[in-house]
């Protein structure tokens, strides 16, 4: 099988580490070779962060390059636009529509582009955009944005629901499991296309 590439992008501190852990576990349990590359250190401090998840028969490179991602899973709309050049033609962007202003916007040195969801669509990408924060809050916690996104991502894979659930159980503490299962289910149903 050709290696599949998933990028998880967002703002430092948004919880992308748990999302990549869950995916790593899922693909490993399905018998694939897996590589997951994370970002540590300075760029974590509210900066633009990216995690690369790759799986297949044999995965060599730890990173994903421009034009190679099958999926971009984005925690924030501007970040989806920033990393779009990494998407493969025909690839899918699964994104939260939440807006988090970066410092140049906060201090008035730059503007946050308007209408980004439409602009992403007109670039030719397949875009699945939803307000994951609202959905996560409905599930019981604003911190479950990551699981809402993965719920929606699961819609594009033909793995069994049980595979996703056992990966979820492996990475989420038991006391938050029910809430996360709900977030996953709500995310899966939430797609807007």
């Amino acid at each position: 099988m050709e290696t599949k590439n998933i990028m998880i992008v967002g703002v430092g501190g948004q919880g992308s580490l748990l999302a990549s852990k869950l995916l790593g576990r899922l693909f490993l349990d399905r018998g694939y070779d897996v590589k997951v590359s994370e970002v540590h250190g300075m760029s974590q401090r509210g900066g633009s962060v990216v995690t690369y998840v790759r799986y297949g028969d044999r995965v060599a490179s730890p990173i994903i390059d421009r034009g190679q991602a099958d999926f971009i899973v984005s925690f924030e709309l501007l970040e989806a636009a920033r990393w779009l050049p990494f998407l493969k033609p025909g690839g899918v962007v699964v994104t939260n529509t939440q807006r988090i202003d970066p410092m140049p916007v906060i201090i008035g040195a730059a503007e946050y582009p308007e209408g980004l969801t439409d602009k992403l669509r007109s670039s030719g990408a397949r875009v699945d955009a939803m307000d994951c924060l609202a959905i996560a809050e409905r599930a019981g916690s604003s911190k479950a944005v990551n699981i809402v996104l993965l719920g929606r991502l699961s819609h594009y894979f033909d793995f069994d629901e049980a595979d996703w659930m056992s990966a979820l159980e492996a990475v989420v503490p038991p006391k938050f499991l029910e809430m996360n299962k709900k977030a996953f289910a709500l995310g899966k149903e939430a797609g807007n296309n």
């Binding site: 703002v11 430092g12 501190g13 790593g24 490993l28 070779d33 897996v34 590589k35 997951v36 590359s37 994370e38 970002v39 540590h40 250190g41 300075m42 760029s43 974590q44 401090r45 509210g46 900066g47 633009s48 995965v59 060599a60 490179s61 730890p62 990173i63 390059d65 421009r66 034009g67 190679q68 501007l78 970040e79 636009a81 920033r82 779009l84 050049p85 990494f86 998407l87 493969k88 033609p89 202003d101 970066p102 410092m103 140049p104 916007v105 906060i106 201090i107 008035g108 040195a109 730059a110 503007e111 946050y112 582009p113 980004l116 602009k119 992403l120 670039s123 030719g124 990408a125 604003s142």
Partner: protein
């Protein structure tokens, strides 16, 4: 068991399986988790030393005492530890001694992009370079074997893409080799008479290790299936990029031991080659060596010494392929890292900017004081340089600079190498003002304890150095403590200490807002009947405040109630929950 493991964690597992029982390290991205993960094994004693030199010397002592020992650091840390390293090469070891050094091509979290392989060659110490987690585990174990077999410290060269990538490993069991300490001054006392005896041993050792690696499976050769006459020499992550881009097209020599290099193996690999290409990140280290053997090759002409490589860079240069990409054709504002909401450094840098100080900075989260809108920092060089350089700066400019110039340095960085600079100010006398940003933790690398926090690596109570007493003992009569959440106090005290013609230390003390034990106040709110949209609150550059429809808005998910913004509001529009 087959499992996904971070490269650093896999290296730690290798240390465990090799029977390593003593670790002394200094944190530094991307090396930190090797020591943090190793500390999860109760069989291994682990500590954070004040700096890398101390850490390596402690590891040397443990090796001398007969225990397999380890020391981990980032690339620039090896400069600090270079002094013991270059002579450890002469003494060799008793029990095995392994040093991990993590390079950061692309400078994800570093001040330079130096290539540690030069240290291996210059110190005449062998260096292994893993290409993924499985090799990180295997090479960590192999490093101890080589260390004892050839009586040498061994360098394990990690890099960001190996350290911080999870890939599949199989784990094994721990063995525990222990040696007796035997007094041997001709080997361990490096004064000229004895060191002269050791140097030829070192030269001979390098030849022996090179001879070993000629036939060892640490280096591997793969014959290309389509164009075997094209010969690629590579190592580490670069090997992965070659395989990703080219699969089995070309013949590949993957070097696991990057110093010393196997001359005969290289010569036989390139025999009858149509072309020889060296693919390596950073400097042309392997390339230069291959050329020194009289072999024609290309390397840095194709793959620049700046930044990281990738499968696309390799594909573009070797296969002339490039990928199609999409874009929203829009100016995407940058999202640089920022000080967190509630960061205690913010109030201090706001004050320094408003006074108009020249600020000689240092390495840590507070380096972000150089970014907009605070933009308060004038220089950042290396660990400890703030304190040392303010002395030189004030010596030259005297009255012109000493009343408006400060050095800023974090608590951990101060213990690392700020103390010696402070000694120079006390001894050679400049009226310098040094501000220690004491946030009670090593912040940037992800919360490691240090000698001023009162806790050890495992979080148990430990010795605690009293910064005020230390500075006074070094001869500073003026030592003041301020709270960076109190802007009025910061402004007053800093102005006072700049005004006096005496050296002084100001300790700006408040724990990092991300520490678990720090209790946050409720988020502040903007009273929209009162806010006049003057944007005074925006001057602190807090990620929790923004302007929407002409008025300030505070993000309640981020705000920790530090109150800096409310101290700046001229109309009292920002307050706590009603």
């Amino acid at each position: 068991m087959r499992q996904l493991m971070l490269g650093n964690k896999a290296a730690a597992r290798g240390l465990y399986e090799a029977g390593c029982s003593f670790i002394s390290s200094y944190p530094g991205t991307p090396s930190t988790e090797i020591t943090e993960e190793a500390a999860k094994y109760p069989e291994i004693y682990c500590e954070w030393a004040p700096n890398e030199k101390v850490a390596l010397e402690a590891a040397f002592g443990a090796s001398l005492a007969g225990t397999r020992s380890f020391c981990g650091m980032k690339h620039v840390g090896l400069n600090v530890a270079a002094d013991p390293l270059y002579t450890l090469s002469y003494t060799g070891v008793n029990a095995g001694l392994v040093i991990a050094v993590a390079d950061d091509p692309g400078m994800h979290s570093s001040q330079n992009e130096q290539d540690s392989r030069h240290h291996a060659r210059a110190s005449k110490v062998p260096m292994l370079e893993p290409a993924d987690s499985a090799e990180a585990l295997r090479f960590a174990k192999l490093a101890f074997e080589l260390s004892e077999r050839f009586d040498t410290p061994v360098l394990l060269r990690m890099c960001t893409r190996v350290s911080h990538c999870q890939s599949v490993v199989e784990t094994g069991d721990r063995t525990l080799p222990v040696k007796e300490y035997k007094k041997d001054p001709k080997k361990y006392v490096m004064m000229p008479g004895y060191a002269k005896l050791r140097h030829p041993v070192v030269e001979e050792r390098t030849k022996k290790i090179a001879a070993w690696s000629e036939s060892s499976d640490v280096n591997t050769v793969e014959i290309g299936t389509q164009r075997p006459e094209v010969r690629i020499i590579t190592s580490g992550t670069s090997y992965q990029y070659v395989k990703e881009a080219c699969g089995d097209t070309f013949s590949v020599l993957k070097l696991g031991l990057v110093w010393p290099l196997p001359d005969s193996l290289i010569r036989s690999f390139v025999r009858d080659a149509q072309s020889v290409i060296v693919v390596e990140e950073l400097d042309g280290f392997i390339e230069e060596h291959v050329r020194s053997l009289g072999i024609q090759c290309v390397g840095k002409e194709l793959f620049p010494p700046v930044g990281e490589l990738s499968q696309s860079v390799v594909a573009a240069k070797l296969l002339f392929k490039s990928a199609e990409t999409l874009s929203v054709y829009e100016n995407i504002p940058a999202r640089p890292p920022v000080m967190c909401a509630g960061c205690p450094h913010r109030g201090l840098f706001y004050t320094l900017k408003s006074i108009g100080c020249t600020v000689l900075g240092d390495i840590g989260c507070y380096t972000l004081g150089a970014t907009a809108p605070l933009a308060a920092v004038d220089s950042v060089l290396c660990m400890g340089a703030s304190v040392s350089s303010i002395h030189g700066f004030n010596k030259v400019l005297g009255e012109k600079s000493e009343h408006n110039t400060v050095a800023v340095i974090g608590d951990s960085t101060f213990m690392h190498s700020g103390m010696t600079g402070l000694a120079n100010i006390a001894y050679n006398q400049t009226n310098s003002t040094v501000i220690i940003l004491d946030n009670s933790i090593t912040g940037m690398t992800g919360h490691q304890q240090n000698p001023t926090t009162g806790f050890n690596l495992r979080g148990d109570p430990a010795g605690k150095i009293d910064l005020e007493a230390l500075c006074r003992a070094m001869g500073f009569e003026r030592v003041r403590v301020i709270d960076p959440y109190d802007l009025e106090q910061c402004d007053r005290v800093i102005r006072e200490e700049l005004a006096v013609s005496a050296p002084s230390v100001i300790i700006s003390r408040r724990p990092c807002a991300l520490l678990k034990y720090v209790k946050h106040k409720p988020a502040l709110r903007v009273d929209h009947d009162m806010c006049i949209g003057c944007e005074s609150c925006m001057a602190v550059g807090c990620p929790a405040i923004s302007i929407r429809d002409g008025q300030a808005v505070i993000d309640a998910n981020q705000c920790v109630g530090c109150s800096l913004c409310s101290q700046l509001c001229p109309v009292g529009a920002i307050g706590g929950e009603e």
